[in-house]
Symmetry: D2
Subunit: 108 residues, 4 copies
């Protein structure tokens, strides 16, 4: 009788503040793998592996992080920025400025 | 005799297809400076200047280019993407995808 | 009963193949912090924190990784490459080529 | 009788202070091309080409500059740093520090 269906979502419900939920599992998996890569590099230093091999793993980890960042930025543009654009005005301007600053930090 | 005033705009008229005209002179000046930096580096190689000093100039030039790229991207988001967002649909989606791909190339 | 003390060195003994031991603890601490940052970003995605804030943390993590990479490269040049340079010949050439390739991957 | 031949070299002679002469023409050609790319981007802004197309050209120019930088760094390691390493002492240390700082600026 009691319908609990509307509460039967482990995450990504209507309360979700930033709604990039469609890809959430993808990002969680990627971050899980990135954590593993960071632990692997720690272990390589611990075991005093060859420096160049550690650098190769750091490059791989950096690339993985950049891919996450670009993906999040895409989602952000697609949702937050597009929503703000439809409303227009100062809010839209502020969202774009914020996105550009994030891009500038990534590009450096 | 004939009034040529309506043709007397060197740039940035209503026919301008991509309308980032407000900042056009800023970008032209920056690109002018960047061309000068590139010529300067060529000259440094020609004169066999100290390698590390050439690398410093290359880093400066790369930073200047990144600043132009981030500025253009900001303008692009502010105009093309926002306009597309207001129209919505496939056009908006395509514009965001295109912008993200440009960001990915800059971030690498 | 038997004294195993000579094997009771957790790291950095004379058998250490790549001898960047002076800074080993510094690198281990940095990598520990980087692992923490990666876990923090995972948690931010889990909690659906604001996208731009996640991007800020990704930029910080990338910078921390780059600092580790540049530090390792410095150590590598200072030890492996300098040693090879003293021996000279094909070995020195190969070490430089290897170092340059690692730098190219970092610079991209 | 008078032999001026030994002075008749426009560049790359024994007086050359930084002796990366074997590849000098390669670098001059690359920098020439880079100057052309910079002029092309200036022209694209002048003509108000599509923003994303300009960004693509900026990415290409940045990659070309990075390739020059990595090449110069390789030459620098192969000559200046190796020479300093053979002499050893404070000079060698200083050369490595200088090279690492240049790498850090490129990696950022």
């Amino acid at each position: 009788m009691t319908d609990t269906a509307t509460h039967d979502h482990s995450h990504g419900d209507a309360d979700s503040p930033h709604g990039y939920i469609t890809d959430k599992d993808k990002y969680l998996n990627r971050m899980k793998r990135i954590e593993g890569q960071a632990r692997g590099i720690h272990k390589m230093v611990e075991d005093e592996k060859y420096c160049i091999d550690i650098l190769t793993q750091i490059s791989a980890l950096t690339s993985a992080l950049e891919a996450v960042a670009v993906g999040l930025l895409d989602d952000h543009l697609r949702h937050c920025v597009v929503d703000a654009a439809r409303l227009g005005g100062a809010e839209a301007e502020a969202k774009i400025t914020e996105a550009t600053q994030a891009i500038a930090r990534l590009v450096r």
